[in-house]
């Protein structure tokens, strides 16, 4: 059976690549500290020595569109081209090609359907910055095969928060029951409070620091029930109109497990949003 060696949840700030690679007058004052934090975070994946990455993210109306929108989609392809023209344009993100782990994709699709999730699949999926940002921050070599899992946090009607937690629990069960001698890390990215295209965007902090504080507490302590008791589809509008991306953090809490405290927690309060980094070692971190 496969071994789940790390569970990682992170924000996916598309400005990191440009900030971390800029020099001279172009380098923002927060870049050095941001790089230091990301490189420390990266070590939490490196030490787990994964062979395969299951990557949970959300397409930002790049490949997935309102004419045929899946709620949860699993990529099943030998390769994934990555990043789109408008991400190159706005964030300076590089084009990438990542290998796929097709047999794990097939296993998650078959077993996930039987577990009660009507998963969509794609044999030609171009992935965007919700998955490439954690590659850039956590595995810049981009050398490991991936299974992309896309969630709809963008186009109403959305699945409810409980559904994201349930899918996280199922993904963990499927990874741990996958009959392959592989070390698997599950990496998912989302947001804390965030506003895009609204009156509260691009302030000196995220739009709701109090929500961010509570969110970090829920995630770092594995307080799924506490989180579910306060978070609904309706309530997630309050901390910013893009905060539904927090449900991907809730999915990752489902992967990590109820009451499971994160082994690594870090945050960075940047303009416009709070960065947050969490790692769990299901086997206690022994490698």
């Amino acid at each position: 059976m496969a071994e789940l060696v790390a569970v990682i949840a992170s924000t996916h700030h598309p400005f990191y690549y440009r900030a971390s690679t800029s020099t001279g007058e172009d380098r923002p004052p927060f870049a050095d500290e941001w790089v230091r934090k990301v490189e420390a975070f990266r070590q939490t994946l490196t030490r787990a020595r994964p062979d395969v990455l299951v990557m949970v993210g959300s397409d930002h109306f790049h490949q997935l569109w309102l004419d045929n929108m899946p709620q949860f989609l699993v990529g099943k392809a030998p390769f994934y081209d990555a990043n789109f023209y408008n991400e190159e344009r706005e964030f300076g993100l590089p084009r990438m090609v990542l290998k796929g782990q097709e047999d794990l994709s097939a296993y998650i699709l078959r077993e996930g359907l039987d577990a009660g999730f009507d998963l969509a699949f794609s044999n030609e999926l171009r992935i965007d910055h919700s998955i490439t940002c954690p590659i850039i921050t956590l595995r810049p070599e981009a050398d490991l095969p991936i299974v992309p899992v896309y969630t709809n946090i963008f186009a109403p009607p959305l699945p409810r928060p409980q559904r994201f937690v349930q899918l996280g629990r199922t993904i963990r069960q499927l990874v741990e029951s996958w009959p392959a001698d592989r070390r698997v890390a599950v990496i998912g990215t989302g947001h804390l409070s965030l506003e895009l295209g609204g009156p509260r965007q691009f302030g000196p902090h995220g739009p709701d620091p109090e929500f961010d504080r509570k969110a970090v507490e829920w995630i770092s302590t594995g307080d799924i029930e506490g989180c579910l008791s306060e978070v609904t589809l309706d309530s997630l509008h309050l901390p910013g109109n893009a905060t539904h991306g927090f449900m991907d953090f809730m999915l990752m809490m489902g992967v990590a497990g109820e009451g499971r405290k994160a082994d690594y927690v870090d945050t960075y309060d940047l303009f416009h949003t709070m960065e947050a980094y969490f790692t769990w070692y299901p086997s206690g971190g022994s490698s």
Binding site: E90, P156, A242
Partner: protein, 119 residues
């Protein structure tokens, strides 16, 4: 309101570099051309299998033609699509982050609950 069509305009223009520039320079003509020639093209479908019924409402058409992004927000256009396209067109005219903060300022009168973005 035909929010789906409104979003379809923002989505299809944003992913085409030539259309981004055309919409920046000639917004009204671009909107008219797009609605007559492109609105009913089913993305990812065989040529010749288009829809027949998609069109913008008058206030949506005018908001697009006027580059009026506060009005697009009011009409329930998806804010990520609007922001992304308008950054592509107008960020170049401002200092770093200047357009994004101006964008927020121009929407400052909106209070929760924001307009519904469901299509």
């Amino acid at each position: 309101m035909s929010k789906y069509v409104l979003n379809k305009f923002l989505f299809t223009v944003d992913r085409d570099p030539e259309l981004v520039e055309r919409y920046r320079e000639e917004p009204r003509a671009t909107v008219e051309w797009w609605e007559s020639e492109q609105a009913n093209r089913i993305l990812g479908c065989h040529t010749g299998e288009s829809s027949t019924w998609l069109r913008l409402d008058d206030d949506e058409r005018e908001a697009l033609a006027a580059h009026d992004y506060p009005k697009l927000f009011e009409l329930g256009a998806h804010p990520f699509l609007t922001l992304t396209l308008f950054i592509a067109m107008f960020e170049r005219d401002h200092p770093p982050l200047g357009f994004q903060t101006e964008y927020a300022r121009r929407l400052a009168a909106f209070r929760l609950p924001y307009p519904d973005i469901a299509t």
